[in-house]
Amino acid sequence: MSERPLEAVAVKKMQALQTRILNVDDNEAALYATSRVLKKAGFDVLEATTGEEALEIVRREHPPLVVLDVNLPGISGIEVCRRIKQDPDTSSTMVLQKSATSTAVQDRVESLVAGADTFLIEPVENLELEAVVRALLRLHDTESTLRATLAERNLLLREINHRIKNSLQLVTSILNLQSLEFADPQARQRFQHAVSRVMAIASVHERLYQDEDPLTVAMDDYLSGLCVGLTNASILDPRRTTISVAVEPLRLPTEMAVPVALIVNELVTNALKYAQASDDHNVIKVSLERLRSGELKLTTSDNGKGIAPDAKEQSGLGRRLINTFVRQLAGHIEARSSADGYEVVIVFPEQAVTAWRPES
């Protein structure tokens, strides 16, 4: 082991830890005095004598703290502070504003409003200046740690979302591949129903996370996509079947959106099944609207004429699913059958939707 003088090690350590501070003052003597205090306290000091110069150094060197005099030739210290804080690239810089002349309450307030983190009236005791500088640097450290943690969290969240979607894709792929194994067409169709239910749940994830709000779903997009998928998947002649989706631009939390989608999935699948058996031009309508009472109203209808109301009843699992989802939504369901067709209306309360705020 080579022996190194302790002092050299200490100096080296200090350099590594030395924090850069930009000191801005047009008065040579004041500039020198402040720099001396900061250097003595162990900081690496950069200097500027004009606002323009200060801004250039902040953008280039990114010092964590600027000690900024108010009275400068050209752009004032307060304006320099405002620009530092407005530029997203430099806004995390701490600003210690100080002045010996612009010391009225109005000046101090204007400076703080412009974004300064503190305001000191000169003359300032050396010890106090050092203590305030260290306090601001502590805040800066905490803030950058938080920023880094947040960025890491966001990255993780995106990664998890990606994996959820990939896994759901694996599930739906395996089910679709499996459906080919059924020789019996009726068994295959039943299995396809299961696949379509899983798809209705999975496809919510394709729509989540695409915008700023990952906890709610835009229902117009979700239900339109779902209905298009169902129509394409059925073997109906598209010229004889029209499906129209009229959904108000509203967002529902995922725990409400999924049951609504599953109900639509059952009702539309059923309507398509009966439409297949008819020779008329089939019109299937799906709508979701907000009533004046604040409740939501989901309506599906078709013009399937000539089919006995009984035959329109959901049988077995489909009906049980619908009824249970309606209960889950705390709603009520009404089915009407007439010469014009068949209509199902479900009314349910809209939960207070807590909007997701990325900052919270």
């Binding site: 990939n166 739906t172 792929s173 996509g225």
Partner: protein
């Protein structure tokens, strides 16, 4: 018209599923590539009409790079498939002028729609 389709996807199940959809739609899969190198070999040997490309491949390989290479070197357009269709990704992908961008989990019918679009473009371009 029977199109020749390359699949670049490192998840075996998803690749099989895509292959099934392509085959059922009446087209032919010329190969499944799990990584950029296999995609390159298949593109060179099989000269596909278009490709399905997963935007994120194993070991950090970028599907976007594969799609760009397929387009620039072999004139093979891509349908991009991704579990990450947020703004940043779609912006970068859109520059490649893909035939379509499809989010996971996809509906089989969405894939069929994209295939129709691709075949339409092929016919329009008079490539075949």
């Amino acid at each position: 018209m029977e199109a020749r389709v390359l699949i670049v996807e490192d998840e075996a199940l998803i690749a099989l599923h895509l292959e099934q959809i392509v085959t059922e739609a009446g087209h032919r899969v010329v190969g499944i590539a799990f990584d950029p190198a296999e995609a390159e070999t298949l593109a060179a040997n099989e000269r596909p009409d278009f490709a399905f490309v997963d935007m994120r491949l194993r070991a950090g390989a970028s599907g976007l790079d594969v799609a760009r290479h397929l387009r620039d070197t072999y004139n093979v357009p891509s349908i991009l498939v991704s579990g990450n269709l947020d703004g940043r990704h779609t912006d970068a992908a859109a520059l490649l002028m893909p035939i379509a961008m499809i989010g996971k989990p996809f509906m089989p019918t969405t894939i069929v729609g994209a295939i129709d679009l691709a075949v339409g473009q092929l016919n329009g371009s008079g490539k075949r």
